[in-house]
Symmetry: C2
Subunit: 447 residues, 2 copies
C-alpha cells in the first residue's frame, strides 16, 4: 500500500514549524566571543555618543563670532593659545581672537563653537601686542601655576593663523549625542551580533553581553546505504555526506551539534537512538528514512514516540518528503536523504526554527532578485529550489540539477526559487534568489 | 606645515595592495574543522558519482523492453523476484517479466534498465504459473543455497503489479557518473569551503583536506583618547571600539588575531610595538594615527621602519587617510580611527589581502544593485561608502551618516557605494551595494 500524503505549500510548512517554537534562555557571553550570537536584550545607549562636543577634523577650535568679518580681502587672525590631542582636555577658555589647535576626536575647549580645518588656515606671525601681553601674564601667573600646570595649558601663544571666511556657530563640530542619545534603543532584542554590533557594544563599555543560549542540535544520518567518510566504497553504498554538511550548516550559524548513529533498518535501534538524542539535544535532524519506502522507518518512529507530525509532504522540489514532528517541545526534523533536498530543507525549516528559538529577529534567508542566466524550461506544480551561482546580477544553475546531485551544492552559493505553476522560465527572466551564505537574512518569509 | 597627500582611486589602492600579496602555505585540516577555510588544491572527483546506476525513486526495477506493450487498455504484469533497500545489491538478474522492488538510492539489479515509480503501479495477484515455477525452483535450488543465501535473494516471487505505460531504457535511472566523473575537477584551488563543499569532500571520503594556512593578524588601536572597553568614561576620552570590531571582522573570516597596545603619543613605544607585532603576525592592522595631525605618529613609524608606503590617501569617504605599507613582505594596514572608515577600510583592503594570502579565488565583497530608499543628495568628488540596510530589493542609509558614527555600523548590513563625481543620488536610483556579510564574494573588483 502506498501511503497518500497531502503536500502543503512551503510557506504553510514554515508557519507550522514556527508555531511550535520554544524560546531558549539567555546567558552572559564575553565580548570577544559574542560575534554571531543573538542579543537577548535591546541594546540601549548607556551615554550620549559623542559623549562631548568634539572636532571631526584636525584644525583649530575658535569662537565663530570672531570670524564674522573674515573674507578674502580681509583675513582675520587668531592666536593659538593651546594645543591638544584627542583624549586631552584644554584647561583654557577661549577669549576673543583666540584659538586652540585641536586634533580629530578631541573635545572642544570652553568658549569654542566652531572648528577651522587645518587646510583652511594660513600661518601668520604672532602679533607683537599679543606676545607682550602674554609675556606679562607669564610673569604674573607663572609662579603660582608651576604646581598645577598641565601639558595642555601653555602659558604663551604658540602660533597664529588667518582665515578668509566666516564660520557659523557649530560649523565642523560633532555635537554631543548627535550619533546616539543616552537611553535610546539602538538595536532591538533579537539582533544578530555582527562586527558593527561589537563596535557598538565596545563603545558603551560592555565586556559581557546577554545573548540567547545556543541550541544543541543532534544529527542522525540514516540509510542502510551509508558509509562513514573514511570508509572505502562498497557496491551499492555511498558515503554519508549529509551529516558533515549539516554540521557545517550549523557551524555557519555558530550552533554546536552532536552526531548519532543507528542501524537504519532496525526500528528498535532507531527508537532508542532518537530517544537518547532528544534527551541530550534541543532538536534532532535526521536525514533519509522519511519516504514511503519499506525501509523508511522514521514515520514509524514518530508514531511510536507519540510525536506530533506537523507535515510529511511539502509542495517543493527537491525535498517534498521533508517531515517535521514535535515531541515535548523538541523538534524532529526529518530531512530527505538526497543531498540537495537535505541542504534546502535545512535552510528553509531548520535554520529559521533554530534562530527563532534564540529569539532572532531575522530568521529567513536573505532573498533578492536576479536575472536568470539560462533557460529553466520545465514547468512544475511544486515550488522549485535550484542550487545556483549568483554573482550579484545574474544567477544560473550550478550544473547538474537533480535532487540527488552533490556537485551543485558544492559549486553553488545560492538557491533559485521558482514558484510552482504552469510556466517555465527562460534566460533573461528575473527570478527570486535565496542567499544562505548571508550572515543575516530577513524577518519575513515572502510566500 | 600641512603635508599634501595625493589621493588615488579605490581600485588603484586595491591593486597596489594585491600586487604585494605573498601566499601562505597549506596544512591538513580535519573535515569537521574545514568550514570557512580555503581549498589549497583543486577538488578532483575520486570516483564517479553516482558510483553505480541507481534508482532515484522508490519503485520497481524492470527491463524496459518488457513494458513496450503496456497501455491503459493493456496493462502489463511483472512479478517481483527480489526486494532491496538502499545499500543492498541484488544477487538476481532480471528475466522477462521480472521486477525487483527497489528503494531510493539503491543500485539497479543486473538486467534492469528502467525504474517504475511505486505510484505508477497497481498490485495484482501473482499468476499461478509463476508461483508453480518458483515452487519448483525453490525445491531444486534451495538446498544448495542455504549457506550462501542472503537477505536480498528471496527464493520466490513476493508480489506482482501491472503498469499502464511503456518505459524507455534509462527512464528513472540515475546513471553512474552523471553527476561527477572520476578525475573531473569539481572545484578549483582557492574555493571557499562552505557546507556544500563539505558534502562534496565527504562524498569522496576526505577526512582531512589540504587548506591554506590561516594568517595571524595583529591589531593595534592607537589614539591618546582611547579607553579599554571596561573602563569608565573620562572627559575627552572614548572607548576603543575599533579593536574589538576588527577582531570580529577577522572572526567572521575565521582568521585569528592578537591584540597589541602602545602609548599612542610615544614614537619609540609605537616602533617597539609595531616591530614586535610584525615578528609575531603576518600583518598588522593599526587604527588611528594616520592623519596629518601632530599626534599621528604612524607616518613616522613607517619611515623609521623603512616600510614601503603603498599609498596614504585614497579618494574615498570615509577613510581617505587609509594608509597601507609593506615591510619584509608583511602588510601594515593603517586604517582610520573613525569607526565607519575603519570598518570600510578593512572590507576593502584588509579582507581581500588576507584572502589572497590564502590563495582564495573570490576575495572581494559581494556586490549587487539595489534601489535607493531615500535621497543622498550631496555630490562628492570622492567615492562614498555609506553604511546601509539592505533587504534584497532596496537599500537605505543606516541612520546617522558621518565617518565617526558608530550607530550606523551596528545597524547596517551593507555598504552603499556611490561613485565620486558631480551628481547626487535620489530615492529610486539604482545604486551599487556591497554585502560584507556574505560568506563568499566575487573574484573581481569592479572599478
Amino acid at each position: 500500500m502506498v501511503e497518500i500524503r497531502t503536500p502543503i505549500p512551503v510557506s504553510e510548512a514554515i508557519d507550522r514549524v514556527q508555531a511550535k517554537v520554544r524560546r531558549l534562555g539567555s546567558e552572559n557571553v564575553p565580548l570577544e566571543q559574542a560575534y554571531g550570537r543573538i542579543l537577548a536584550k535591546p541594546l540601549i545607549a548607556a551615554h550620549d555618543v559623542p559623549a562631548f562636543d568634539r572636532s571631526p577634523y584636525d584644525g583649530f577650535a575658535i569662537r565663530a563670532e570672531d570670524s564674522a568679518a573674515a573674507s578674502g580681502e580681509n583675513r582675520v587672525a587668531f592666536v593659538v593659545i593651546d594645543h591638544i590631542g584627542a583624549g586631552a582636555v584644554s584647561a583654557r577658555t577661549l577669549g576673543p581672537g583666540e584659538a586652540v589647535r585641536i586634533m580629530t576626536g578631541a573635545q572642544l575647549p570652553k568658549g569654542a563653537d566652531a572648528v577651522v580645518m587645518l587646510e583652511q588656515t594660513q600661518e601668520t606671525p604672532i602679533p607683537e601686542a599679543v606676545l607682550r601681553a602674554a609675556d606679562n601674564r607669564t610673569r604674573t601667573v607663572g609662579a603660582e601655576q608651576t604646581e598645577s600646570q598641565t601639558e595642555s595649558q601653555p602659558t604663551s601663544p604658540s602660533a597664529a593663523f588667518t582665515i578668509r571666511k566666516p564660520f557659523a556657530p557649530g560649523e565642523n563640530v560633532s555635537f554631543r549625542g548627535e550619533d546616539m542619545r543616552e537611553g535610546e534603543e539602538i538595536l532591538p532584542e533579537g539582533s544578530l551580533i555582527h562586527p558593527g554590533t561589537i563596535a557598538l557594544l565596545a563603545t558603551f563599555g560592555h565586556q559581557e553581553i546577554e545573548a540567547a543560549k545556543l541550541p544543541v542540535v543532534g544529527i542522525l544520518a540514516t540509510g542502510t546505504e551509508l558509509l562513514e567518510p573514511g570508509a572505502a566504497l562498497e557496491p551499492g553504498k555511498i558515503r554519508n555526506s549529509n551529516g558533515p554538511m549539516i554540521a557545517a550548516q550549523l557551524r555557519r550559524m555558530g550552533v554546536p551539534c552532536r552526531m548519532y548513529a543507528a542501524a537504519a533498518d532496525r526500528l528498535d535501534d532507531m527508537l532508542d537512538t532518537v530517544r537518547l538524542a532528544l534527551g541530550e539535544t534541543h532538536c534532532l535532524i535526521t536525514t533519509g528514512g522519511v519516504s514511503v519506502g519499506d525501509f523508511d522507518l522514521l514515520p514509524a518512529v514518530y508514531e511510536r514516540l507519540g510525536a506530533e507530525v506537523l507535515f510529511n509532504k511539502v509542495a517543493m522540489r527537491p525535498g517534498s518528503v521533508t517531515t517535521v514532528a514535535v515531541l515535548d517541545g523538541r523538534y524532529l526534523f526529518g530531512l530527505s536523504g538526497n543531498p540537495s533536498a537535505c541542504y534546502t530543507g535545512f535552510e528553509l525549516f531548520v535554520r529559521p526554527a533554530l534562530l527563532a528559538m534564540m529569539g532572532a529577529e531575522k530568521i529567513y534567508p536573505m532573498r533578492t532578485r536576479a536575472v536568470l542566466g539560462e533557460d529553466l524550461g520545465q514547468a512544475n506544480p511544486f515550488a522549485r529550489f535550484i542550487r545556483a551561482v549568483y554573482d550579484g546580477r545574474t544567477v544560473r544553475p550550478a550544473g547538474f540539477n537533480k535532487s540527488n546531485a552533490v556537485s551543485s551544492i558544492g559549486r553553488g552559493n545560492a538557491l533559485i526559487l521558482l514558484p510552482g505553476g504552469t510556466r517555465g522560465f527562460a534566460a533573461g527572466d528575473e527570478v527570486d534568489v535565496l542567499l544562505p551564505g548571508m550572515e543575516e537574512g530577513l524577518a519575513v518569509w515572502q510566500a
